[in-house]
Amino acid sequence: MTLLGYFSLWLALVVGLWGAITGFVGGAQGRADLQQSARHATFALFGALLIAVISLEVAIFRHDFSVQYVASRTSRNLPTFYLWSALYSGQEGSLLFWAAVLSLFAALTQLLTGGRYRVYLPYVAAVTSLVASFFVSVMLFAANPFKRLAFTPMDGQGMNPQLQNPGMVFHPPMLYLGYISITIPFAFAIAALLTKKLDTEWMVAVRKWTIVSWLFLSIGLLIGMWWAYVELGWGGYWAWDPVENAALLPWLVMTAYLHSVMIQEKRGMLKKWNLALILGAWVLSIFGTFLTRSGVIASVHSFTESPVGYYFLFFLVAATAATAVLYVTRLPLLQAEATLESMVSREASFLFNNLLLIGLAFSVLWGTLFPIISEAVVGVKITYGPPTFNFVNIPLGLTLLLMTGIGPLIAWRRASTANLRRQFAVPVTVGVFALLILLVGGMRDGWALGAFSLGAFVVGTVVQEFARGARARNRQYGEALPLAVLQLLSRNRRRYGGYIVHIGIVLLFVGFAGMAFKTETEATLRPGESAELRARDGHMYTFTHLGISQYNALNRQVTAALLDVRRDGKEIGRLRTEKRQHVDALGNRTFEPSTEVGIMSGLRVDLYVVLAGLVNGTEQAVFRFTINPLVWWVWFGGFVLVIGGLIVLWPGGAPVALKGSRASHVQAGYAVKLEAER
């Protein structure tokens, strides 16, 4: 099977390069036969990579430890669930997974793109094939997943215990799906640059793809945070680790793009900028891959050092240079079709939205690279830790939150003073009111106050938008208000779906702000003894150690501590935290014991308990107790964000209007409205 996989990789390389050549040449010379061949190459590429993936999975499931990848990532007693995820739990396998998913997306693009966007397809096929070929060549020359060992071990080394968590089964593929799918809009952008068909049409062709990849990135980031929270045991979900930052960068850029593209659709402006954002998001996704796979920045999740880094560096530089040259040569073709009319307009607010999002991306990038910069420039090694990231980025984040409220309140083209007053009165009142209540309630943390009151302001704007829309429908069609809200959502999915995403962002910020009120303590308890910890909202939590039990599970020996939990003296449940000593099929210990956190999650606080260890091998145990306020809202906010994203994405609803078609009616309509409000 591994031989088959290895051959199919070679086949994939040949087919990929063929697709790249025929796509570019066929597109440039307008030769239909070559174009057709490039299209077919994307299907063949997917076929070849699918065979490679199946070969590797078969090797994993058959426990073929003569394959190095299988021997170093899995073991006989690894639960089936994690045998699946072993495919992408290591360098080589994840490269294969990446290439295969890219080829799937590439083939789907060829199948699903119809009608007038077909002119772009040969170049799209060429770009996607080229990128996939790069990944395949890295595997063939530097990180072969099918590499064999000189001997066959009895059992594999097993999977890192921290990866044996449901979060790790879903987090990498989601994140990869996000990363990988950026290649499709990128390929369309390159195609548009090459064909010089740079009107807004190509953007419409890829809008769905950009939202799809934004959504996957969002889900990937959220699951990653969840995994870090439930598995790593330090009590937080975001450590500003380079790997996390690398995933956040394209997300920020994509978010900026989702907004600024609306200006292009409605007004035919910002063409250069939007194109640059798409190209930039893709370059950042490759940059992130380079960062995390080369080991340039030592980081908790970094894959080990290997020549793979050099390949990525080369690819990054070459692709960036080629893209930049192409972009610059086409700049004269990208002229705006309209001009801005007022500083106080939706257009202008989107520009500030973009400024903030890109500013944040720059800031995160700057912080990630600053240790390298410092070492290179002044020769001093420094740490740019979470406190520094927070110091620099919290103000930016809160400004972004503020803009999320302001932006949607400002009309297109030009907002009048009366219009502004009418739009802002209620939300601002809500925000100020929230601030006062919190101040009176005794909250003094500046950032948290900012997050909560700005959040209230944004919620106020969204509720106002929904209420106005629903009331208008109610008056006009006599629809009951709940029905009217649903109708609004389904009629104008983009706008109201977007607003729901904004609510998700607010909830996320509420959850983030909760971290300001974390409390923790360590305690040594014998069975029957208790530790007390007061949450910042005044409740007293009592944890009573009930005892230690030890037992064996499939691939591990467990030591579990059970605790009884009371709030203000009333029993609210039990918590269990474990030490897990993983073993191989022969009962030999594999990794150092890992810790399983015990979490009791609630709307107000999460109780988070970690078993540090036992004293002298007795049931007397050392625990760390942490009270994490509002963490639940992070997950809930993420859920809302994803739902909003799905609403935006759902097919149907109003079709996208292009500048020059019916969009001008919209503008005329807004002008009517504004004039009327004077």
Partner: protein, 187 residues
């Protein structure tokens, strides 16, 4: 941080710690297989839980390569051998009567600036702290300037409205209806 742990406090803490270790643990049952529960832990002392000690350790980075601060590492990664040792070093220095700043300075002298979770706000490091903010402010000013130019150049700036302005006496209800109509237009 307002005050450090005084020498006297520290003496008391040390006595407490010694007491805890010496305490009779035989009244607690031994578990079946202590080895599988990871490294044995010493009972938590008051110094371990001291808010000032914790705050101090949160400013210092563990040298095991985990990227965490000493406090977080020693209370999270129980396989790390560095963070407990660094923790003891911190306690020892405090016990010797060093102030918090002196402890920090000693760590920097021993391990270099990299030991600080946030680099000191001076010299080259200022770039690390303030470049993003400054760039953003400059970019914002640039954007405002550009917007001004655009809006002034804009031929539409003077006569914003389409040729035939509508009757300006629309009622609020009519405006709502208009909004809704507009909502239902594509785009």
């Amino acid at each position: 941080m307002t005050h450090g742990v005084s020498r006297r406090d520290f003496f008391m803490l040390a006595i407490g710690a010694a007491g805890a270790v010496l305490q009779d643990t035989t009244s607690v049952g031994r578990v079946y297989d202590p080895d599988r529960a990871g490294r044995a832990q010493a009972p938590v002392t008051a110094a371990d839980n001291d808010k000032n000690v914790q705050a101090l350790e949160k400013r210092l980075r563990c040298s095991c390569g985990c990227g965490l601060d000493i406090y977080t590492c020693r209370t999270t990664d129980f396989t790390c051998t560095y963070s407990p040792a660094l923790h003891q070093q911190v306690l020892r220095m405090l016990g010797d009567g060093k102030t918090e700043q002196e402890v920090i300075d000693a760590f920097v002298a021993q391990y270099g600036q990299v030991v600080l979770m946030s680099p000191p706000r001076r010299g080259f490091n200022l770039l690390g702290y303030f470049v993003p903010g400054v760039v953003l402010v400059i970019a914002a000013l640039g954007l405002v300037w550009m917007l001004r130019r655009w809006t002034r150049e804009s031929p539409a700036a003077a006569p914003t409205m389409p040729a035939a302005p509508p009757p300006p006496d629309a009622s609020p209800a009519e405006l709502e209806r208009l909004r809704d109509e507009l909502d239902r237009l594509p785009g």
